[in-house]
Symmetry: C2
Subunit: 380 residues, 2 copies
């Protein structure tokens, strides 16, 4: 499980002469271990800190509150992995996950610090709690290296195992979109369309599935994105439905624009241009393509058609986060490679009136790209 990710991470850490490293961001933890804790209601109430991964120069140890022991168990069987848990909930004493985590870390680092020799230790300092950093500093007297975002470039090319998880999510967004399209009728509210999609996803998955991103009617002033509210659809209103699902710790992404009834001539014209812009972008996807060039070509197409150019990215990668490298944005000179999964999502917006955005996902192959999304984005 995720062996290849750990090999890539170890090689990077060794190349930087690190002796040990602490990962604390949700993306890093999931990418390194495959462990993906539930996130729907916020941080675990009885945990001392988010899940941590400690690399001692050879092995990766996942450190979680005991309530997650069963979910983390598969990683205990990894040849280069292990799991440590600490007490969270109890009725016998005040709940104090922080104290139990501290004791676990002290014991772990006392052993692996080898008598306090100077060593170079990497830390994800924007994700690891300050108290965890203090425990670490008490045992490791050497250099500290901030390693936030170090793994981001390594995450760009997906493994087969990751592609399998991503495909499950893209199938879920397909069924979600089919439900959202059916539910987009005059009188329905944004939240009603959203719920139709959400219920279909969770019924299909047989479990809870967190879902992003946007469900906004065209007449909202901020009609590019936003959470679904109780704004009701009037006949002819456009509705941007931009959906990610998060299952097995991996995100999908996808967008379509639906209409309550028929689209008017202006909406149809916009929809056609956006659809052509998306097709243009897709035609440019292949190994060696420069991300900033793709961005420029798609923006230029919208401008040439006489429409305002969208203020957001043209696209982005996806994986253990919803928006990751490589970004398809003006400044970026990163180059596409086989195994990357890329979203493209051009749009045209008239604030307070209407807007259209269309988005598909693509897997970069040896000689081009194949589409991973299959939702119906056609005009009604």
């Amino acid at each position: 499980m995720h062996e290849d990710q750990r090999r890539r991470a170890s090689a990077l850490l060794h190349a930087h002469q690190l002796d040990a490293a602490l990962f604390a961001s949700p993306a890093s933890v999931t990418w390194l271990t495959g462990f993906a804790p539930p996130i729907q209601t916020g941080p675990h109430p009885f945990a001392g800190a988010p899940p941590l991964v400690w690399w001692d120069g050879e092995r990766f140890t996942l450190i979680v509150v005991d309530a997650w022991a069963a979910a983390a168990a598969p990683f205990a069987r990894a040849p280069d992995g292990g799991v440590l848990t600490y007490l969270g909930y109890t009725v016998d004493a005040p709940i104090d996950g922080a104290r139990h985590l501290r004791a676990l870390l002290q014991s772990l680092w006392q052993k692996s610090a080898n008598g306090g020799r100077n060593r170079r230790v990497g830390v994800e300092s924007w994700a690891a709690p300050s108290a965890v950093g203090e425990v670490l500093a008490a045992h490791y007297k050497g250099d500290w290296v901030m390693i936030d975002e170090w793994l981001a470039p390594l995450r760009m090319v997906k493994t087969e195992e990751e592609l399998a998880k991503l495909r499950v999510n893209f199938q879920l967004t397909d069924v979600a979109h089919a439900a959202a399209r059916r539910a987009t009728v005059a009188g329905a509210r944004e939240i009603d369309v959203w719920l139709a999609a959400k219920a279909t996803v969770e019924a299909a998955a047989g479990q809870r599935v967190p879902m992003g991103n946007d469900c906004v009617v065209g007449y909202r002033q901020e009609n590019i994105g936003g959470w679904p509210l109780d704004h009701a659809l009037r006949p002819g209103d456009s509705l941007i439905v931009d959906l990610s699902t998060i299952l097995h710790g991996y995100w999908s992404d996808s967008c379509a624009t639906y209409f309550a009834g028929a689209a008017n001539a202006r909406q149809q014209a916009i929809h056609t241009v956006v659809s052509q812009a998306l097709a243009l972008g897709a035609s440019l996807l292949r190994p060696g393509a420069v991300t900033g060039d793709i961005d420029r070509r798609v923006r230029q197409f919208i401008a040439n058609a006489g429409y305002p150019v969208y203020p957001h990215h043209t696209g982005h990668g996806v994986g253990v986060s919803g928006h990751e490298a490589p970004r398809i944005v003006p400044y970026n000179q990163e180059v596409l490679a086989a195994g990357m999964v890329i979203l493209l999502e051009p749009g045209i917006y008239f604030p307070g009136e209407t807007g259209v955005r269309l988005e598909d996902a693509f897997l970069i192959t040896d000689d081009g790209a194949i589409q991973l999304t299959a939702h119906d984005k056609s005009l009604p």
Copy 2:
């Protein structure tokens, strides 16, 4: 908005001779400011850190990524409050919320450190990122005080403003339970019952509402709690439905046990005993009652009836977290006071066979308690 909370917090911090303090836990941030960020899909993707609150000895400043500026705006108008935001998303440069947050904090603390004089600064060290702690340490050379959980005792007694938010949530759990009760039929799966409840809540609220906690059929081996899965209900199966909603940053809580068809004689007997245990607990709620005594009395009632005593708490407080002080557990000697909101939730469980738990919420009043939950927990 939440002025009383800030008065209580200031008094505590001054009493401990603190000159400044940094709060970083979601519960503290919401309790101090009323600001409650969306949590459904995990941490904000473009934020450098979770929302922070900085107390400079007088004023409270909420520090959030710019995407949350509108949601945080009400706090900018508080006479003792303010909001600072930093750049998150941009297409003009790599996204680097951490760098922009660091610059903001450096500027803020350079000003308020008054030339580096020694001062006592409190930090929620298990919630504040290590990098934030390092920026703070670079400006404040004085004593560091860990203030994690300091606010927990202050949060026990609710203000009228908090009670209003809690009541909205308890109304949502009432409608959720009505839907769950209807949906509990043979052939339905746990996830189907859950979705019925969830869809009813979000349709009623007109927005997304995170929802906990448990939806487990009696025949599961771990039938005390767990997320809904695709286990199907057979005729006569019991289903524990334990629901929290989180709206405006405040949690409700509530539990009922439903049956796919009729309950058998054994289930009826268990249900009756649990119902009586809950009523006994409720009768003990008044200012001055000792939490550990209530716990002991309710456990003893279950034991005297000849059933195994539940391995969890008898009850707990609720507010900006789902489970907070005062806990109704064996060791606790905390005393109830008017204005506390208390859950009671006795249960009887036979793993792999059946289980019953019933839970209501109560507001402690000057001479007793009034029930805040109104869901139907009766036998079918």
